[in-house]
């Protein structure tokens, strides 16, 4: 229901604003329109499952190799971050709520409040923010171009459309705070305007080689209850 509503509102919105950009697709929408609709779907969903994986973290960097969990627009996040500290990787259970990040720091029992910035990570709840979160990346791209239709999503059963773009580093900083320079982005969107995957390549950690983070989104419309531990 939420999904249908999202599609409806986005198409109404699009009809109002009109489609002026180049190369409209079959239903008369430009790639920019589709990405704007995808951002809206994400911004309006009650909850979503997020994953983030790094292909290879540059050696010597303290950063996030993997994150997995559910987020809401409270904003709140409940999941696990895998951080690399001093060469070893640790799973850190995290609950972020009301601007506070609670984490089970590796090898220390119990929950503690931490400043994620100091671990090279964003406040995971802020990823769900509608103006300074992950979704801001989706519409911040320049030179957006539609790619081919591909199969993907859970169970590989969905038909998705790829869009490529260039995203400035200050917006990517919403996901990885230390990002700098331009990033190559590939967004994969379903027919229902759900963003399914975003692949970002560029320099996330200053002074290192470019690397790739893949962000996956699924279970739109879920209603997780997230409470402080």
């Amino acid at each position: 229901m939420m999904r249908a509503l999202g599609v409806l509102t986005s198409s109404v919105l699009l009809a109002v604003t009109g489609c002026t950009a180049d190369s409209p697709d079959d239903d008369g929408r430009t790639p920019d329109d589709v990405l704007a609709a995808a951002k809206q779907t994400l911004d309006e969903t009650s909850g979503v499952r997020l994953t983030l994986t790094a292909d290879e973290l540059p050696s010597g960097v303290t950063g996030v190799t993997r994150a997995e969990g559910v987020g809401t627009h409270a904003p709140a996040f409940d999941g696990t971050l895998t951080v690399v500290l001093g060469g070893a990787s640790f799973d850190v259970p995290v609950v972020a709520l009301d601007g506070v990040v609670h984490a089970q720091v590796p090898l220390v029992p119990g929950w503690q409040e931490v400043d994620p910035d100091e671990y090279g990570a964003p406040d995971p709840a802020q990823l769900m923010s509608t103006d300074a979160g992950f979704s801001s990346i989706v519409t911040a791209g320049e030179d957006v171009a539609e790619g081919e239709s591909v199969r993907g999503g859970d169970d590989n059963s969905e038909v998705l459309t790829e869009y490529t773009a260039t995203v400035p580093g200050d917006v990517v900083g919403n996901v990885i705070p230390s990002a700098e320079g331009d990033f190559d982005a590939t967004f994969t969107v379903t027919d229902d305007d759900e963003l399914r995957e975003a692949v970002l390549t560029g320099v996330f950690y200053p002074g290192t080689e470019p690397m790739t983070y893949t962000i996956g989104l699924s279970d739109y419309g879920s209603e997780p209850t997230i409470t402080a531990p």
């Binding site: 500290l85 001093g86 060469g87 990787s89 640790f90 720091v105 591909v150 199969r151 169970d155």
Partner: protein, 582 residues
């Protein structure tokens, strides 16, 4: 030509032995590939123990299968299984598939040793067997020294999957070479499957389908996955997971069809009926029960969450399963007409005592083999597997030296005393290692406990073997020394699982009062002092494992003094390795 065949078999034995330890350096990388963080080492223990499980489950029954089926077919089949296991491990996509591959590798590797020993017995008259048997045992030990180095060399140029791709290639080449060598030797029995006969084409076709569909299921190549049409092959038809997709189901169906074809056709590609028949005669039931019991123990420890408790609820069920299997095995051994262990073979105290001592020696030894490289990689050499391997090599080089000295001492001193002395040295080495801090390996003094430990383990090898040989009948000497080896490997298998889990549990129990981050960092949630604290806490798990290993070594020493007393070993002339067969 006989020598060529034996050399090939010996190379295969060395390679399989190398494979037991080839993973110890790759372990952190393999753990990362399947998403296991470094502070949950207990979950990754099956990557090592899965191999040992296959090895141990096969070892006792393969000698008799080799008698029934012939040495060369067993060697070739073992290498093919080893290659298959390597293939599965190379393309593994999660922990179960990785451990499954390692298990198959172990089954193949475990079958090589007894078949090669039997080959020696065929090729040489009894009075000339000593040297070739010694050589086979020696290459086995050399293989285990070279294993970590081989792994490190491969890792320095490629990732861990390359190690198993190399195993796959070597396994297939050796299998082909042994087959060709056997045909050239001209023994009718050896070449009963002569090359002139056309192979079962239906079987070949089914096998190709298995490989192709299986390859797609494991690898899920992205270009195919993303394709609108071909990608449908990877959509699960029922539920979710890889094995209910079109490719997965085709793979499973083709495997079933291939097995059915092999069971029913007159001239099958793989003589399954023959193998199953031979396995039955060689007490398949006994081996299966042993395998089940050990698998239960491995799984019980691997599913633990040491942060909370030693065994999970699931783990307790695995333990119960292991207990049931053990009970069934004991009943089976009492009732079977021709059981795995002939009744009464180990009835004298030093005989079963040596088996028990070997168990604890193995439990302590595996801690050194796995935790020394892991320690090296988490402290001084995070980026160089080769340098981390060289740390372990200091330990491994001392081991054969100790073995020779131990053999020599056994001629003049009681076996129990020599064994105990060795294990006390090993315990001392471990206690020293348990005090290692973050920078310990940067100092030359770190070599001392490594060498002391290696010497200690070496010392204990010969007297334990001598004791079991001196107190069993000549007719079961081969079996008895095999049991010492099996007991050592079972000890390793239980040791790696139990020490890691119990060590971590102990660690978490003691660390409940670690300070809060903010207290250490003046209000901030991260600072260098706290990172250092974390790194020190991180190596604490290995320090605890070293202490546990020291405990196992002390138990072995005490048992050796008590149980090996009175074994008439000083007259017997035995080498440092198990060198006797029927």
């Amino acid at each position: 030509m006989n020598r060529l065949l034996l050399s090939l078999a010996a190379v295969a034995v060395a390679f399989a032995a190398a494979d037991t330890y080839v993973v110890v350096l790759a372990l952190p990388d393999m753990m990362a590939s399947v998403g296991i963080p470094i502070d949950q080492l207990q979950r990754a223990a099956p990557i090592v123990s899965g191999f040992l499980l296959g090895y141990v489950a096969m070892l006792p029954m393969i000698g008799r299968i080799a008698d029934l089926r012939g040495r060369v077919p067993v060697l070739v089949a073992a290498l093919v299984l080893f290659a298959l296991g390597s293939l599965v491990t190379t393309v593994a996509y999660d922990l179960p598939s990785m451990v499954g591959g390692r298990f198959l590798q172990g089954v193949g590797g475990g079958a090589l040793v007894p078949a090669t020993l039997a080959l020696v017995a065929d090729l040489y008259p009894a009075e000339r067997r000593g040297v070739p048997l010694g050589v086979v045992s020696a290459v086995q030990e050399i293989g285990s020294v070279l294993g970590p180095l081989l792994g490190a060399v491969v890792l320095s140029v490629a990732d861990w999957r390359a190690i198993f791709a190399l195993n796959l290639a070597v396994g297939l080449v050796l299998a082909a070479a042994i087959r060709v060598a056997a045909i050239r030797v001209g023994g009718r029995a050896a070449s009963e499957a002569s090359v002139s006969r056309p192979p079962d084409l239906v079987g070949v076709a089914l096998l190709l389908v298995v490989l192709a569909a299986g390859g797609l299921t494991f690898l899920q190549p992205p270009p195919l996955m993303r394709d609108l049409t071909w990608g449908q092959l990877f959509i699960p038809l029922v539920g979710d997971g890889r094995w209910t997709t079109a490719t997965g189901l085709v793979t499973l169906a083709a495997v079933v069809a291939f097995l059915a074809r092999c069971l029913t056709t007159a001239r099958p590609l793989v003589d399954l009926r023959g193998w199953v028949g031979a396995a039955r005669e060689a007490d398949l039931a006994g081996s299966l029960l042993l395998g089940l019991a050990l698998a239960g123990i491995v799984l019980a420890f691997a599913t633990a969450d040491p942060r909370v408790q030693v065994f999970s609820d699931q783990g307790l069920w695995y333990l119960l399963g292991a207990a049931v299997a053990t009970a069934a095995l004991l009943v089976h051994l009492r009732r079977a007409s021709d059981p795995l262990v002939p009744r009464g073979a180990l009835r004298r105290t030093p005989a079963w005592g040596s088996v028990l001592v070997s168990f604890f020696v193995g439990a302590a030894l595996i801690a050194a083999l796995v935790d020394i490289p892991v320690f090296a990689r988490t402290t001084t050499y995070p980026d160089s597997q080769l340098l981390a391997a060289l740390v372990l090599v200091r330990f491994l080089v001392a081991l054969p030296v100790g073995a020779v000295v131990g053999g020599w001492l056994t001629r003049s001193l009681p076996a129990g005393v020599v064994t105990a002395a060795g294990m006390v040295l090993a315990a001392a080495g471990f206690v020293w290692m348990s005090t290692w801090g973050l920078a310990a390996l940067e100092s030359w003094t770190a070599t001392l406990p490594l060498v002391i430990g290696g010497l200690g383990f070496g010392l204990a090898l010969a007297p334990v073997n001598a004791a079991v040989l001196a107190t069993t009948d000549a007719a079961v000497h081969g079996l008895a020394s095999a049991f010492v080896v099996v007991a050592r490997m079972v000890g390793m298998l239980v040791g790696i699982s139990a020490l890691t889990t119990l060590g971590l549990r102990q660690y978490y129990a003691e660390q409940a009062d670690l300070p809060r981050v903010q207290d250490v960092c003046d209000g901030a949630s991260r600072c260098d002092r706290f990172t250092l604290l974390l790194r020190e806490a991180g190596i604490a798990q290995e320090q605890v494992v070293f202490l546990g290993a020291a405990g196992c070594a002390v138990v072995a020493a005490v048992l050796a003094v008590v149980l090996l007393r009175g074994a008439p070993t000083r007259s017997a002339n035995v080498g440092p390795w198990p060198t006797s067969t029927t």
